[in-house]
Symmetry: C2
Subunit: 354 residues, 2 copies
């Protein structure tokens, strides 16, 4: 199979972890006889530095012409904490999401037995937790207009907008996932207060009968924020709008104790994108110490979701689990044991696959 | 001192817990020689049943003429899960907040040593956690207009609006609390994405120099959702806008393991209101089994915040702690020990005070 991918390492530790994920991707492609072609491009702070634009047109072209995008991380302290800065790396991220139509962000929340003790939750609550958060990624307050200030600057406003089409496509995506899993979908909204949530709930109620084997339930966002902590095992697939999803997916990811290992996928209209959920970790950049596993597992998601190559994805997962069991791990999870470098972990996994 | 209060028991377990909180309030008033006068009124589902309006004008008048409002809980299953119902109990709640100008909702997050093992978090993370969440309660998406649907019904929109005045008054309230505590204020927003948050951050940065002894820091809402779980002890006072506050305060309250014990206060322009953070718990209504402690501790907050009567508040807290230590507790926290009824717990506390 021809695998044509765009590679956007981004900022901070992005380039280092990407090198390893690419090596793993090559090793798997070779092993299974796929023809891998890829090109790199800039995004984020490094793109601002190089071109003035955090998501340059060339980068966009490259992504549009790819079957999948591997994405590292963006963000640089020099652009942070200045809410009035003209150009910010995050704008690149938001532009990219919008222009590529990345409407569904998927975050599997899974635990790794060897890391359960790192969870802030009591082990009995989190052990075996295994659910998928799906966040609508191109609508809501992130993109609704008008957004801005009154003339005197003393009133600010944002708009949350959702159309039927936007809601339907991400709900169908969520039902598809639920159908392949434990057949339970939780729609999270605030239908007791806001109009967009009432539309979400109405459409979900309309669509639900098309999936008779899937149980649909509804949860207000404040209750969801509690239930994620109190009873994470009660979830199978959760779906919600952009801003609620921003909050809940981050909350859900820390309960596992394995933040540095969690990958994500953003399913798009034109291509799909795969990235670790962690950030650019600037303090570790260039030091060869960050954890490459989330990036490597993002490559596994790419094989599975973009190319339907499940064996290839499974092989990457197996290699990652083997590295954990063998204790070939970076300092964040070494726990008093031997500490390996980022590149050593990546190379071990690549060798394992070969 | 004259204490003129309005009493709104509301729905579900509201009336039962209110009876106990009122008895405690009377006992404390007697003991300290205060002159307590109070009147009751309806709100919520019971008000819809009685008058068609979840927050009737008489109830509003009563509150406006009071120095403080004791509030039980509202909500009834018969009005739930029907997003298109014309009148909902929640509307009463929102009207009440808006008309009374209850701009600052305050939720102390505290742990009780005897209940730490009920926390979903590892004890070492939550033991000693002690912070205050302040949620703006009369602005943002809850009240912003326009809100509604396009003519064809296929597009829905909400508006989030904040004015300088709304932001300033709740920030000053938060600084006041921080000044009386560990002198650290965390302002939670999403200034990297939305305009209202950028106004919040700008105003907080302008105000901060007026409080030179208080350390102000900023946190994005998604990070806050993680930090509440990972490191609750890092917070002293947290302040945020209405919708973020709805989500984060609920999240923060479950980490303690003592949901049934947590009180809250809503500081207003015309009067202030005190209520347990738990809901109307309809399954337990009339059974004399619910936990009255959150309602009783809300009365303690009333003495402290509305009347500046700190000794009186402290006496209620002392009595509540004594009941916990003596194991005079309802089934939700009995943990295999003897189970007392709601009324027995309330009476024990009232006797203790007398
Ligand atoms: C950086 C920021 C704009 C972004 C978001 O809010 O979507 C981030 O928090 C994320 O979740 O990917
Ligand atoms: C019932 C609902 C309207 C309300 C809110 O969202 O404010 C509740 O969740 C709360 O936090 O008091």
């Amino acid at each position: 199979m021809k695998l044509n991918i765009a590679v956007l390492p981004g900022d901070g530790i992005g380039p280092e972890i990407m090198t390893q994920a690419l090596n793993v991707t090559k090793a798997v492609s070779d092993k299974f006889g796929h023809e891998l072609t890829y090109k790199e491009a800039v995004v984020g702070a490094c793109a601002i530095d190089a071109t003035g634009n955090p998501y340059p047109e060339e980068t966009h072209e490259l992504c549009m012409n790819s079957d999948a995008v591997l994405f590292g991380a963006i963000g640089d302290p020099k652009y942070d904490n200045d809410p009035n800065a003209k150009v910010r790396p995050e704008q690149g991220l938001l532009n990219m999401r919008k222009k590529l139509g990345l409407y569904g962000n998927i975050r599997p929340v899974m635990t790794f037995p060897s890391l359960i003790h790192k969870s802030p939750l009591r082990s009995d609550l989190v052990e075996g937790a295994d659910f998928v958060c799906i966040r609508e990624l191109t609508g809501g307050m992130y993109f609704g207009r008008p957004q801005g200030r009154s003339e005197d600057g003393n009133t600010a406003y944002d708009t949350c907008v959702y159309t039927r089409d936007e809601i339907e496509r991400v709900l169908h995506l969520a039902y598809k996932f639920a159908g392949q899993r434990r057949k339970k979908l939780t729609v999270v909204d605030k239908a007791n207060v806001i109009a967009t949530s009432r539309l979400w709930r109405q459409i979900a109620q309309e669509i639900a009968p098309q999936y008779p084997d899937i149980e649909t339930d509804f949860l207000f966002v404040d209750n969801a924020a509690m239930r994620i902590i109190q009873w994470p095992k009660s979830f199978d697939v959760m779906v919600t709008e952009n801003m609620f999803g921003d909050i809940l997916t981050d909350e859900a990811s820390v309960i596992t104790g394995s933040m540095g290992l969690l990958p994500s996928a953003s399913i798009g209209l034109h291509t799909s994108l795969f990235e670790p959920i962690h950030g650019s970790y600037p303090q570790a950049a260039g030091k060869d110490i960050a954890n490459p596993l989330a990036m490597i597992l993002s490559a596994a998601l790419m094989f599975e979701y973009s190319f339907n190559l499940n064996e290839e994805g499974a092989m990457i997962r197996e290699a990652v689990n083997a590295s954990l069991e063998a204790g070939i791990v970076t300092e964040d999870i070494a726990d008093g044991g031997k500490i390996y470098k980022l590149s050593e972990v990546g190379e071990w996994i690549t060798e394992y696959i070969k």
